[in-house]
């Protein structure tokens, strides 16, 4: 019998290809007569363009064409609004999306102005120097707090101010409850989330085949199907004429979602114009300047509590930096607003935010997608309250957890998926208990820490909790096919960027069809193989596409059994499926293999019954009614060098509940990577702009990513399984669990290590330099 794969740490099926260099990445696509593109990008954060002169560039040997807004003709257009604002009553939203190439104004450093097409990238870059742009510099809007002042320059001149959006959401009535509070904690917080900095930069190859009237695009996108649909519309082609392939990607983390970047819109069009394949590979500097960021928020927050530490209500007003445009709607600030509430039973909540246009790169979701900001505010308020009330961090949290019997728990406010926020299921206390046990909290605080302090060592402990909204709709699809060889192929529409889809989706299908997992191959991200679906984002791959794989496999299983019952002349109940064959129960010699069945299901002669759908194949779709809410607790022990203020993480624990675990090793991998990015956010990474809107950290020398030396070697993980009732597999997402609370934990542990009653860390990132300043002030 075939073993069951779900729940096992099955080794990744895709690794052999990746590790031996057999996996295709976009830059591996080499086509005859291919040309390469380099972009001229704005060197000003805010300026009017008076004139662009490309005549010298055109004269350069090897340059084939130069495009500016002027010569795009009808194709010159603004990109789409990718996510419209949710139906919230008190909401204002001003849509501003970026045009393909700037015409009369540039609004951030890096905004594309012209594209040079040449025999190779070297020549294309040389020619950039020959383009003359006559700029009229305008004052740059950089500081979030100053952007709304009456004298601030206007980024979009048809708007009354730099306000992009304003939203108020309320649950209960904070103002009514405030007076009953025993304790009010009121503070300002600022949180700066950085750039995703995936190992592979963005890349696009487009190939217009005029004889076949076919456009093929290889794109580092998380969402090839929306890109196919969008490009078809823009290029005036039918969806069938456009094939988008998202091959292997070296990481994505959000900024490679269905963004319709200028380059994505322009490269296929150029290929059609010139009738030649066109390649554009983003370089690292462009990745900092031309791929979206997440960056910052500033919060003015207030928490009302009883003297027992029970939260009565929260009031939060914050500013969110959206950069020069807002193509991604309100997803990031709404995630902050909603996720702030965390695993806690908060009856009264007033949350108001303003989204601000600045002369900086556009802000869109990056792993965590606004959630770390909200969690930071909540966790810091709880830490401050705990200090006042002489409670431990775990006590104050446990006292406020939503209880198991309260699920499904309604948070009333509207979430990013347009529906009222409801937590489907959860059991929060065990995660906390397990984390405290794994880090041995009591022993550390009572025995070890006093000893270490006596030795002059600053070693501290922290513990935080959070929820992770995952697995939102609308839907994904999968197509499962059993071939004549008996092997199974699975096609899904989601792109893959390291999430182990080739393994985990195969685990599901292999279990349903009772075949060896090595006989299951997966195709992802090729719109010719699967043309319905959305993409990989919001920790939704397993929840939405995973359940679609399950549904499609179940449908194929039904077809297998039905056909086998006809051939073997036995009722379905009397059949046994396993080892790639079907046999009659108790009669192993009365059998037919899946391969033989596949041939029978696709006859070449004779007649089929009316209504027969050929092949052992089925496509199925899954769309959850609303998202599935994961949760978890992170705990850590850190050491702060009292002289240099360098912080070392000695121990890191993650206890996480993502419902049914399909592959524990893969979940741990997701968590480890997330924690690494969370540590980067907490301690190393920062996008620094100067007063003129120049990004000062546009290289890996100045933008400090944590390396393997800087991330704890061993992150200890514990799993709790509270299945989601919203999907057949009972799964919840886990892609962002590692990132979301890491910075909140880091600062709590650092404060605990330094044991200085006056030190209050209310901002992220927290570099040693900044810590030094805070200690000086305190």
């Amino acid at each position: 019998m075939t073993t069951s794969y779900i729940g096992e740490s099955v080794k990744r099926l895709e690794d052999a290809r990746l590790l031996t260099g057999q996996a295709l990445f976009v830059d591996d696509v080499h086509l005859p007569k291919m040309l390469e593109v380099a972009f001229l990008r704005s060197s000003y954060a805010h300026a009017r363009i008076r004139k662009i002169d490309v005549s010298e560039a055109l004269k350069k040997t090897g340059v084939v064409a130069v495009y500016t807004a002027q010569n795009l003709g009808d194709y010159w257009q603004a990109g789409p609004l990718l996510v419209s604002p949710p139906p919230i009553k008190r909401l204002t939203f001003h849509k501003k999306t970026q045009v393909i190439l700037a015409k009369d104004k540039v609004r951030y450093v890096g905004e594309p102005i012209a594209a040079v097409v040449a025999e190779n990238r070297y020549i294309a870059e040389d020619a950039l120097n020959d383009i003359i742009v006559d700029f009229e510099p305008l004052p740059a809007v950089v500081d979030l707090e100053k952007a709304l002042l009456p004298d601030a320059a206007l980024i979009h001149e048809d708007l009354p101010s730099n306000l992009a959006a304003h939203v108020i959401q309320e649950k209960g009535n904070y103002f009514a409850i405030k007076d009953q509070a025993d304790l009010i904690i009121k503070r300002d917080f600022s949180y700066d989330h950085g750039a995703a900095v995936a190992m592979e930069n963005r890349a696009i190859v487009a190939d217009w085949d005029s004889k076949g009237q076919q456009m093929t695009v290889w794109d580092t996108t998380q969402a090839p199907i929306p890109i196919m649909n969008g490009l078809a519309g823009m290029l005036g082609l039918s969806e069938n004429q456009v094939r988008v392939i998202a091959p292997f990607l070296g990481g994505a983390f959000g900024p490679k979602i269905m963004m319709f970047y200028s380059e994505e819109m322009l490269i296929p069009w150029i290929s059609k114009q010139l009738g030649r394949p066109i390649k554009w590979i983003e370089d690292r500097q462009e990745n900092f300047l031309a791929t979206t960021h997440e960056r910052g928020q500033t919060h003015h927050a207030e928490m009302a509590l009883t003297k027992e530490g029970k939260i009565l209500g929260i009031h939060d007003v914050f500013l969110h930096d959206t950069g020069a445009y807002d193509p991604y709607g309100l997803t990031v600030p709404i995630n902050s607003q909603c996720t702030l509430l965390g695993p806690y039973d908060v009856k009264n909540y007033y949350s108001e935010f303003s989204v601000i246009f600045t002369n900086k790169m556009i802000v869109t979701p990056y792993r965590g997608a606004g959630r770390p900001q909200g969690v930071f505010v909540m966790e810091r308020l709880l830490d401050l309250a705990a200090k006042e009330l002489h409670l431990t961090p775990s006590e104050i949290r446990s006292r406020n957890f939503i209880l198991p019997e309260q699920f499904p728990y309604k948070n009333e406010i509207i979430y990013q998926d347009f529906a009222p926020l409801v937590y489907d299921s959860g059991n929060y206390a065990p995660a906390m208990e397990k984390a405290l046990e794994l880090i041995d909290y009591k022993k550390f605080v009572e025995e070890e820490q006093p000893k270490l302090r006596a030795e002059g060592k600053n070693i501290g402990i922290g513990v935080v909790s959070y929820v992770e909204g995952t697995g939102i709709g609308p839907y994904e699809g999968a197509k499962v096919t059993v071939g004549a060889s008996g092997k199974v192929s699975v096609a899904t529409g989601v792109g893959t960027q390291g999430q182990s889809h080739f393994t985990t989706f195969a685990q599901i299908v292999a279990d349903v069809l009772k075949v060896n997992i090595h006989d299951v191959t997966l195709v992802t991200g090729d719109t010719f193989k699967m043309n319905w679906g959305c993409g990989t984002f919001a920790s939704r791959g397993m929840v939405v596409a995973g359940n679609a794989c399950y549904a499609a496999a179940m449908a194929v299983r039904e077809k297998i059994l039905k056909l086998a019952s006809e051939i073997l002349e036995s009722s379905i109940e009397n059949l046994e499926l396993g080892d790639s064959k079907v046999c009659v129960k108790g009669m192993p010699e009365k059998k037919i293999t899946l391969g033989e069945l596949a041939v029978k299901a696709n006859p070449l002669r004779g007649a089929v019954k009316p209504g027969t759908i050929p092949g052992l194949e089925a496509a199925a779709y899954f769309g959850p009614s609303t998202g599935a809410t994961s949760n978890g607790v992170h705990a850590a022990i850190v050491e702060v060098n009292p002289k240099t203020l360098r912080v070392d993480i000695l121990k890191y624990i993650v206890v996480h509940d993502c419902g049914k675990v399909i592959n524990p090793m893969v979940v741990e991998g997701q968590i480890h990577g997330g924690v690494a990015q969370g540590i980067g956010n907490a301690y190393y990474e920062q996008l620094v702009y100067d007063k003129k809107g120049q990004l000062l950290t546009a290289s890996l020398m100045d933008y400090l990513l944590p390396t393997s030396y800087d991330v704890p070697r061993k992150i200890i993980t514990g799993h709790i399984e509270t299945p989601s009732p919203l999907n057949p597999l009972g799964v919840k997402g886990t892609g962002e669990a590692g990132t979301i609370p890491a910075a909140s934990l880091f600062v709590q542990a650092v404060e605990n290590a330094l044991d200085n009653p006056k030190l209050e860390i209310r901002e992220v990132p927290m570099s040693p330099n900044r810590l030094f300043e805070l200690l000086k002030e305190s």
């Binding site: 990238r121 070297y122 870059e125 040389d126 370089d283 690292r284 500097q285 002289k643 240099t644 360098r646 190393y684 620094v688 000062l696 950290t697 020398m701 100045d702 400090l704 944590p706 390396t707 030396y709 800087d710 570099s767 040693p768 330099n769 030094f772 300043e773 000086k776």
Partner: protein, 293 residues
């Protein structure tokens, strides 16, 4: 991030190389390990017309001792060769100890001692170390050869005393004084990063254990290696007590240095680190010097 067009030149030997350099002094760049030059060219901050690749000039790659017991290191010696050389470990332990602080293994397997010194990054380790060790640098052109004391070699931000037609060919390190000890201390954000602040220290004691010579040289706090002269002066001829060292570190950070304010650290924080690290370096160097008795 592709370099501007250039012509690639591979000289057959040193003479050939110096000839070429003599003919094209203004628009040539020597390519050694390329670990600094190539990124600079990709950012188009350097756009040489000729790139002279010296990687096949084996005559520039050697490590040997001279008659006085000093060291002679060819400019093209790779960082990893310097790091793993046992004679260097013995004769110039400071140089040996500092090597792991330079970048990562991959960078040290290509990067060269000469390239690092000529590149003269204000936060690089080797310039400070060779100043602390009183090294001399041999510069050579088609027409002449001269020795430049390390202390006079670094003339400003990424600037050296080399003339355009000159190459650095050798680094000579004199023997260590009898009762001496060294230490290198550094603080960087991540392992392998250029230093926020670093310091190289050499202390030599006379036979009465009084301070005969001290060289405390910082990196990351100025336009090149910075000798903390007032601090050193405060120690000469004295018995090096713990209070005195503490005070010397303070003098160094307050009087000798004007650290920059930049993205990664403020001037104030750098001053603080300079004091902390300077003190650690002095204490450790003294300990080692005392052990020689």
């Amino acid at each position: 991030m592709k370099p501007a067009p250039f012509e690639y030149v591979v000289p057959k030997n040193l003479n050939d190389c110096l000839n070429f350099l003599y003919q094209h002094p203004e628009n040539s760049k020597i390519l050694a390990g390329g670990q600094s030059l190539i990124p600079t060219m990709n950012f188009r901050m350097a756009q040489p017309e000729y790139l002279i690749d010296i990687n096949s000039l084996n005559e520039l790659s050697y490590i040997r001792t001279d008659k006085t017991g000093g060291l002679q290191i060819g400019a093209l010696s790779r960082h990893y060769q310097v790091e793993s050389d046992t004679i260097i470990a013995q004769k110039a332990p400071l140089l040996h100890e500092v090597m792991p602080w330079i970048g990562h293994v991959q960078i040290r397997s290509r990067g060269t001692i000469g390239g690092s010194i000529v590149h003269s990054d204000p936060a690089a380790e080797l310039p400070a170390v060779i100043v602390a060790l009183n090294a001399k640098l041999k510069a050579k052109s088609k027409k002449k050869e001269r020795w430049i004391p390390a202390e006079q070699f670094f003339t400003g931000l990424f600037a050296t005393a080399l003339e355009h037609n000159e190459m650095l060919v050798e680094i000579a390190i004199p023997p260590m004084p009898a009762h001496s000890g060294c230490s290198f201390q550094e603080y960087s954000r991540r392992k392998g990063d250029f230093a926020l602040v670093g310091v190289a220290c050499m202390i030599a004691l006379d036979k009465n254990k009084l301070c005969e010579q001290v060289r405390l040289v910082y990196l990351g706090v100025g336009e090149g290696p910075v000798m903390a002269s007032q601090s050193c002066q405060s120690l000469i001829g004295k018995q090096l007590t713990s209070d005195l060292l503490q005070q010397a570190a303070k003098i160094a950070s307050q009087n000798d240095l004007t650290p920059p304010n930049d993205l990664h650290a403020s001037c104030v924080y750098r001053r603080h680190l300079a004091e902390v690290l300077g003190h650690q370096a002095l204490v450790q160097a003294l300990e080692k010097a005392e052990k020689t008795f």
